[in-house]
């Protein structure tokens, strides 16, 4: 009776709402299962129901049989006995889950010594082997803050995997990671499945599901809408939502046609910026033309955002010159932020912020209403504040706010990295369409090489410090 069998699982809130309903699947050792879905589809609640960590105002009904035992209805103490021994959870954003005051090796060794009950010598030996397996030899005595994001991710993985629990649950393991780190995590998870353990991965990233293989279940509004072998489902999805989700993967986007670029609106010559002892870029020259989209790519921390801020004049360059198109007002150089709610005054209705802007710049009511309608923003949203609407809507709002000033240049700093895939596709398409319509120069920072390749006419790789044409 090995394996995990979930039958007719529902998660019920106190008010009777069912954020998860009628979910059934089974998980066998060696065949990974990936739950795909957008934020709010209930996929994390499924993982929490299996783990036994649902919030107190939620309860699970149905059946979760794990290695022949029914988990639903077990007391908290009995559920906890499984944690780290039979069921392990790979945390989201591992740099927050690691103990900041403990050296790398000890975080792993504790699992061997305290959870698995091995002797000190054996635990130390196994720890060395585990760290070597994830490529962390030499980092044994480092503290988490001395590790890069990818190393922290691998350390958290080593600590979780050390339990050798029969079932590993990975909840959004690639959240906030750039493409290279994402593929590294998928590789590690694939090794777990290959070692004939059970792997349940929760993600909204289609490419992770593709890499892991095995089975895929696509969730929408608390239900599984499509379920089957990964290859078949991802190659030829049948359900309408599944089709849209798979098509939203940047690699599957249609390539955009690029209109001939207009005059230069903003140019930097021989720009240089250091951050502490590190040189972010030096001797970098770039001209952005009206109506073109330039993508800025590079690994995290390579200075992509800083470059955009230098071009906008928000950050001073250490060297080099900046020239704007003559006679163009400063407010026509605008920006979109990575985390939409952070760019709005907290707790203020969006309608009032738009009014503030209209009064400041003497903008009439009619064009505002037309623009909001064009960006599919319903007037009902105006009464709400930034925290109370979805990320996709808010990013469109941020775009509307910038467009009201008739910009010639827009710096979009990872504008969709916190959005779901379908919303991401819609938002990027809207941005690119707007830029083409208005002859707007768009500087798009992204860590996703696929997005850069599909959308931009030219690409600037900051790590390399040079502008490259996309083939």
């Amino acid at each position: 009776m090995s394996g995990l069998v979930v039958t007719d699982l529902a998660v019920i809130a106190r008010d009777g709402a069912r954020p998860v309903d009628g979910v059934s699947f089974s998980l066998r050792p060696g065949v990974p299962l990936t739950l795909l879905g957008e934020t709010g589809s209930g996929k994390t609640l499924v993982a929490q129901a299996v783990m036994g960590t649902l919030a107190p105002d939620l309860r699970a009904t149905g059946s979760i049989r794990f290695e022949g035992r029914e988990l639903i209805g077990l007391a908290g103490r009995e559920r906890r006995a499984f944690w780290g021994r039979r069921i392990a959870l790979l945390p989201q954003e591992p740099w927050l889950a690691l103990d900041p005051t403990m050296r790398a090796a000890r975080q792993v060794k504790e699992v061997f010594a305290l959870v698995r009950g091995l002797g000190q010598r054996e635990a130390a030996e196994r720890t060395r082997a585990a760290l070597r397996a994830v490529g962390l030899e030499g980092a044994e005595r480092a503290f988490p803050f001395q590790l890069s994001g990818g190393m922290a991710q691998r350390l958290a993985f080593a600590a979780t995997a050390a339990s050798e629990a029969a079932l590993l649950i990975a909840d959004e393991p690639t959240k906030g990671l750039d493409a290279a780190l994402r593929d590294g995590v998928a590789l590690l998870l694939g090794a777990v499945a290959a070692s004939r353990r059970m792997l349940l991965t929760i993600t909204h990233d289609v490419s992770v599901a593709r890499r892991l293989g095995g089975e895929v279940a696509i969730m929408l509004e608390g239900r599984i809408v499509e379920h089957g072998p990964a290859e078949a489902v991802l190659a030829a999805p049948r359900h309408d939502y599944a089709r849209r989700l798979v098509a939203a993967e940047p690699a599957a986007w249609p390539k955009r046609r690029h209109p001939p670029p207009g005059p230069v609106v903003l140019a930097g010559r021989r720009l240089a910026k250091r951050y502490g002892p590190r040189t972010l870029f030096a001797n970098l020259s770039l001209a952005v033309h009206a109506g073109e989209t330039v993508a800025v790519t590079g690994p995290s921390g390579s200075g992509k955002t800083t470059l955009g801020n230098v071009l906008l004049g928000l950050v001073h360059a250490d060297a080099g010159t900046l020239s704007r198109a003559p006679g163009v007002a400063r407010v026509r150089f605008q920006k979109l932020w990575q985390d939409p709610p952070a760019a709005f005054a907290r707790g203020v209705p969006l309608g009032r912020l738009i009014e503030d802007l209209a009064r400041r710049h003497g903008i009439a009511r009619a064009p505002i209403e037309a623009l909001l309608a064009r960006l599919r923003l319903s007037p009902g949203l105006l009464g709400r504040s930034a925290e109370a609407i979805s990320g996709g809507e808010l990013q469109r709002f941020a775009l509307a706010r910038a467009l009201l000033l008739d910009p010639v240049f827009l710096f979009a700093d990872e504008p969709t990295s916190r959005l779901d895939p379908i919303t991401q596709q819609e938002t990027i398409a809207l941005l690119a369409d707007t830029a083409a319509e208005r002859g707007l120069a768009l500087l798009l920072v992204t860590h996703d090489a696929d997005i850069a390749a599909r959308v931009a006419a030219r690409r600037l790789d900051v790590a390399a410090g040079e502008v490259r044409m996309v083939a």
Partner: protein, 256 residues
């Protein structure tokens, strides 16, 4: 709930301070040595002290003085503290470093010692007490404002408003003030409580205000030797001080 209770307590004390001296006809300084340490009676609703003075009248005047002085001190500490904090956060660099050093230097002196130093300039007067308390209290408002404003001024939301062409007044009104006001209000409530205690303590050890002025701490000092003969007399100023501080703490705590 606790907020409502705090408001009721403070309202009652404030009403006593405002209306008491008007309603109670007795002169708080008029002595009647033939009627000392009398228990409460229709003639003296709260009794009399060791010099036969009407305790109700003294208490009402004392409340007005203690609470009024405390609120004034907090206001005159908060206004420059907040303004300097905003200036430090907005200008950064040398101005910020100079103001922060001034605040650190002030904090290096214990608050009460600072009050003692200034109070020594003119013993028994009200203004040095007020000046000393303000000089000791402004640092808190400065630090809170500077820390909060510095983070906000570097945030994307303020960057967005600047790029959209808004000026400093708008940023202050839309971004800074809504985030500063709640903690400042809590700090001010705690500050009034602290100032009331400090004024009382200074009066009690005979350094603050001088007799025959009516003030809570001073009244406690004067009445302490007569505790065995008239325990109720000492209880009145103590109870008022306790209720005021409790009310302010409830109010400030609920706001967080």
């Amino acid at each position: 709930m606790s907020r409502a209770l705090g408001l009721v307590l403070l309202g009652a004390v404030a009403l006593f301070a405002l209306a008491g001296p008007v309603v109670i006809a007795a002169d708080p300084a008029a002595q009647d040595l033939s009627a000392i340490l009398h228990p409460p009676s229709p003639q003296h609703p709260l009794g009399t002290d060791h010099l036969g003075r009407d305790l109700a009248a003294r208490l009402a005047h004392g409340t007005r003085l203690s609470l009024g002085l405390a609120i004034l001190s907090v206001l005159s500490a908060a206004v420059p503290g907040v303004l300097l904090g905003l200036a430090a956060a907005a200008s950064g660099g040398l101005v910020d470093r100079a103001l922060a050093s001034l605040a650190d230097a002030t904090m290096a002196l214990p608050g009460l010692l600072l009050v003692l130093l200034v109070a020594g300039l003119a013993p028994g007067k009200v203004w040095p007490l007020w000046l000393g308390l303000s000089a000791a209290l402004w640092v808190q408002y400065f630090r809170l404002t500077r820390a909060t404003a510095a983070v906000l001024l570097a945030s994307p939301e303020v960057e967005a408003s600047r790029l959209l062409g808004f000026g400093p007044a708008y940023i202050l009104r839309r971004h800074l003030w809504p985030r500063l006001a709640p903690p400042l209000a809590a700090l001010a409530a705690f500050g009034v409580a602290g100032a009331v205690m400090a004024i009382g303590a200074l009066g009690f050890i005979g350094i603050g205000l001088r007799p025959p002025m009516a003030e809570w701490g001073l009244m406690m000092t004067e009445l302490l030797p007569h505790y065995h003969d008239a325990p109720w007399a000492l209880a009145w100023p103590s109870a008022l001080l306790f209720l005021t501080v409790l009310g302010l703490q409830l109010l400030a705590g609920a706001r967080r």
